[in-house]
């Protein structure tokens, strides 16, 4: 009797350990192969896109959904790998502090907030910033993505030195996790003895120019990066040299397999494709009733434009359809003085004619060839208070000053709000040159090159099991609320494209992820 019970007890214990087993378990390591690639120590190089930046900042869940982290998880399915580490921020609010004080320009993340009428707009999340760059993390970190870094800055020693913050010689995102004040991003990457790497470097060499509305300088032909400003375009030769040095260093450090990711056209992203060139609707109660008066006023100006032989600069607003905004095109000949003269000749008083001359000397209406920045949407049609003050300083009465200071309607949109064709051309040429360099470096080192056109399929839309992922702002799902960085689903899409490249090149079978399982934008009414 006792014996029987004992046996049953033993049997029962045996059961506890029993687990269902698949014939081909995905976690056994047999189902997939790493092919000729060795993912055991993967290091990711890049900028904000690599860091998991989204919604205007870096926050925790953004980092967890960075494409390198997604890749590392999939690599771990096919091969025994080292833990993939990231310099995680303190919380999900985003933003940065230095010694407890918020760094200017490093606000919390954007969330999609709705007002009582159901109108949605990105707003800053009301959470508390807790990530302090003076709290320096101990690495090494597999994800070496540093938001804001340009190609040649990857090599810059002291780029993570907090003492360089004041002089703008340091990058606060790198300050957080640089192994020492004098190291460079590349040095910290190489020191990890990587076996595999990805590099998505170079966007900032052109993006900062584009994102500033082309206010910077195109330095093509200038080989000295020490003379470059923050919003300038890097010379393609300087770019290629820095990029080659980065890749050579990684390969020599042991990462003989890797992926170089091309740079999608920055002007294809929602940051530039969301605000239409003709956003002024006659149905807008703040604009429609003004149209007749505006057209009467502009007709004087248009006669002057015609007289001066530039009738193409004429400005008029439609009473039935949407009208283009008025912009300042700094590539146009400045005809301020002639304009003033002609207007005075037409009987306008000198004061008004002078102001008109100044204001419209390089003005024209936008065309489909111009790109308005996402950030302009909150400015268009608003009274520009700075301009009002300027005009009042000239002695213009406050009411008239206000009437002449409506952004895009009476006051031409300033440079930082719009990319004109010449600027777009600069961006396009630099991007093409950079991509040629990246492709050549990939070929020279026998690495995977991800053609940017593969990623730009998002502009057309990419179907997945829950619909279509596209680069349409807010609704498309691929881009976060800053219009330039991606959502987790967008980054998962990037990861899948990289996996396709890896599998094809290295005869590997790394499984792709289901992008439908990744989140898109975050709605919240907890806003500042």
């Amino acid at each position: 009797m006792k014996n029987y019970i004992k046996y049953i007890g033993i049997l029962a214990l045996g059961m506890v350990a029993c687990e269902p087993e698949f014939e081909n378990p995905v976690d056994s390591g047999d189902l997939y192969t790493n092919g000729e690639a060795d993912f055991s120590n993967y290091v990711a190089l890049g900028n904000s896109l690599t860091a998991g930046y989204a919604d205007g900042t870096i926050y925790l869940t953004g980092q967890l959904n960075s494409y390198p982290n997604i890749l590392a998880q999939q690599f771990a399915v096919v091969q025994e790998t080292q833990e993939f580490t990231q310099p995680l921020v303190a919380n999900n609010a985003g933003g940065l502090l230095m010694d407890g004080v918020q760094l200017p320009g490093y606000n919390t993340r954007l969330v999609l907030a709705f007002d009582a009428e159901g109108n949605a707009a990105p707003k800053y999340y009301a959470g508390t910033i807790e990530t302090d760059i003076s709290n320096i993390l101990t690495g090494p970190f597999s994800n070496m993505g540093v938001a804001g870094v340009k190609s040649y800055e990857m090599l810059a020693e002291g780029y993570g030195n907090i003492a360089g913050m004041q002089a703008e010689m340091a990058n606060p995102w790198f300050v957080r996790f640089a192994s020492s004040p004098n190291t460079s991003v590349l040095a910290d990457a190489v020191a990890q003895n990587p076996t595999f790497f990805t590099s998505w470097i170079g966007s900032n060499d052109v993006w900062l120019y584009a994102g500033s509305g082309g206010t910077g300088t195109d330095h093509t032909g200038n080989m000295d990066p020490t003379t470059y400003g923050r919003n300038d375009i890097t010379d393609p030769t300087v770019f290629a040299g820095a990029y080659a040095q980065i890749v050579n260093s990684m390969v020599q450090a042991g990462a003989e397999e890797g992926v170089l990711i091309g740079l999608p056209s920055v002007t294809s992203i929602p940051f530039f494709t969301t605000v239409p060139y003709a956003p002024l609707s006659p149905a807008n109660p703040n604009f429609g009733p003004m149209i007749q008066t505006l057209n009467t006023t502009y007709s004087q100006l248009n006669q002057a434009f015609a007289f001066l032989g530039v009738p193409e600069r004429s400005i008029s607003f439609s009473e039935t359809g949407a009208s283009a905004v008025v912009i300042k095109d700094e590539s146009l000949a400045d005809i301020s003085q002639q304009l003033t003269q002609v207007l005075m000749g037409g009987g306008m008083d000198q004061g008004t004619a002078t102001i008109y001359g100044m204001q419209y000397g390089q003005a024209r209406q936008a065309t489909p060839q111009d790109l308005l920045l996402l950030t302009s949407s909150s400015v268009i049609g608003q009274v520009n208070m700075t301009r009002v003050q300027e005009l009042m300083a000239f002695g213009v009465p406050q009411e008239l000053a206000g009437q002449l200071s409506v952004n895009g309607v009476t006051y031409p949109m300033e440079d930082q709000h719009v990319l004109i064709p010449e600027e777009i051309q600069n961006i396009s040429e630099a991007t093409t040159a950079y991509n040629q360099a990246i492709k050549q470096i990939a070929e020279a080192n026998d690495l995977v090159f991800i053609d940017p056109t593969v990623l730009m399929a998002l502009t057309q839309g990419v179907p997945f099991d829950g619909g279509v992922l596209s680069s349409t702002f807010v609704l498309g799902g691929a881009f976060s609320l800053d219009g330039a960085h991606m959502t987790p689903r967008g980054y998962a899409f990037v990861a899948n494209k990289i996996i396709e490249g890896i599998n094809s090149k290295y005869n590997a079978t790394v499984p792709k992820v289901n992008i439908g399982n990744y989140n898109t934008i975050t709605p919240s009414n907890n806003v500042q």
Partner: protein, 418 residues
């Protein structure tokens, strides 16, 4: 010994049981050891569940059969396309039974049967790939049934009685594949209802063809469990009016879950003094389970099509009387799944299965026997999907992968005769 066992049974009474689908065939150690046959086997008070009409044939005035099993059941899921994998971490299920029969005279017996024929506990890892369908679910239903068995003729008896069911459900799933609060915590809902009570009935007959051959039939009615005014607890819902999410606050819910009717016919044949063979055929009328619809207090309805179909189970058992004191049993069954292609939901991840069973009874005294059984349930690895999920954008999103289940059920019981 008896005391300890009884204590164990009632201590575990509130614990829940395993099933794929949610029928758990563990209502008697003697029957289970023989492939869970018993509609035509006159052996013990287990008849209270299998065929109450047979109680009148029990030799003793009072017969009690009681026992409990430990169900170790786990399910694994994987998706070869993505390399994702998930495993359940189910608690040990403890289905139990208590059957008593009291013979008033040669023609009439009365009895009481307490069993747990339906129940399910499936606990996936929270936020696993299928978490928009289920994170975890616990169903339990306790059947309490007073019985009467009447011998109409020497060769024919009928029996049955009303069934009182008391049940509970607790079900948690994420609201969608991706919705989270600002900190990335997945938005989810738990529905919880207990003390859900309903009535049903069973009726049965037994035909004794010859001294050696018995034929039995048993029918247990369908019982629809109506959970009304249960608690629905929403967690981690972001503060936004998008899709009306700001209205998802804790509320009540109503839902129905059917416990389907079951018809069993079978026979037993006393081959010789040593050998008894038994065969049962069950038909479970699962087609009543069309959809799991949850209506929340805020008017929202969560509709989860199930489209089960009636399913069959074929059971075979043998009993060998080794000595006066020791009886050995073995059995086999083939259990068809009621789940149809495209409706394979991970909260009831059941495909066709085979049960291999064995057990024994040992007479400790002339009045008391120990009954032990062991069942191994084998499921084929199956590629299956649930294609009925509709996401927050109205998009139909299938969830599929490869499933593999396994279950071991050791059990212990007693039979007491007076």
């Amino acid at each position: 010994m008896r005391k300890i066992l009884f204590l164990a049974v009632f201590a575990l009474a509130s614990a829940v049981t395993y099933a794929g689908g949610y029928r758990v065939g563990v209502q008697g150690q003697r029957a289970l050891a023989m492939g869970h046959t018993g509609v035509a086997v006159v052996n013990s008070a287990e008849l209270g569940f299998f065929n109450p009409s047979g109680l009148v044939y029990l030799e003793n005035q009072l017969t009690i059969s009681a026992g409990v099993s430990a169900v170790f059941a786990e399910v694994a899921w994987q998706n070869e396309t993505t390399g994702a994998v998930a495993r359940t971490d189910n608690p040990v299920g403890t289905p139990f039974y208590f059957n008593a029969s009291y013979k008033i005279n040669d023609w009439v017996a009365v009895g009481l049967s307490v069993t747990t024929p339906y129940g399910s506990t499936v606990e996936w890892e929270d936020d696993w790939e299928g978490s928009h369908l289920v994170n975890n679910i616990a169903l339990q239903a306790i059947y309490i049934q007073p019985l009467v068995s009447v011998k109409v003729a020497e060769w024919f008896s009928v029996g049955g009685g009303p069934i009182y069911v008391t049940g509970a459900v607790n079900f948690n799933r994420n609201l969608s594949r991706t919705l989270t609060d600002i900190d990335g915590n997945r938005a989810n809902v738990t529905v919880d209802a207990s003390g859900v009570n309903e009535w049903g009935w069973s009726a049965s007959a037994m035909f004794t063809a010859t001294d050696d051959l018995r034929i039995g039939v048993n029918y247990r009615s369908e019982i629809i469990m109506n959970a009304e005014g249960g608690e629905a607890d929403f967690e981690n819902v972001p503060n936004t009016p998008v899709n009306g999410l700001d209205q998802l606050t804790d509320t009540t819910f109503d839902a129905q879950l059917p416990l389907p009717a079951e018809l069993t016919v079978g026979l037993s044949y006393q081959f010789n003094e040593k050998w008894l063979l038994a065969f049962d055929f069950n038909r479970t009328f699962w087609s009543v389970y069309e959809s799991l619809d949850i209506t929340f207090g805020n008017g929202r309805v969560s509709s989860n099509p199930r489209a089960y179909e009636d399913s069959n189970t074929w059971r075979f058992g043998a009993q060998y009387t080794a000595t006066d004191k020791l009886t050995l049993r073995a059995g086999y069954y083939l259990d068809e799944s009621p789940v149809q292609p495209g409706y394979f939901a991970p909260e009831t991840p059941r495909n066709d299965s085979m049960g291999f069973t064995a057990g024994l009874s040992l007479e400790v005294t002339s009045r008391l026997a120990i009954d032990a059984s062991f069942a191994y349930i084998r499921f084929d690895e199956v590629d299956a999907s649930y294609d009925q999920y509709v996401d927050e954008n109205g998009q139909n999103v299938p969830f599929g992968g490869t499933y593999k289940s396994v279950a071991f059920i050791p059990g212990l019981g007693v039979t007491y005769k007076l």
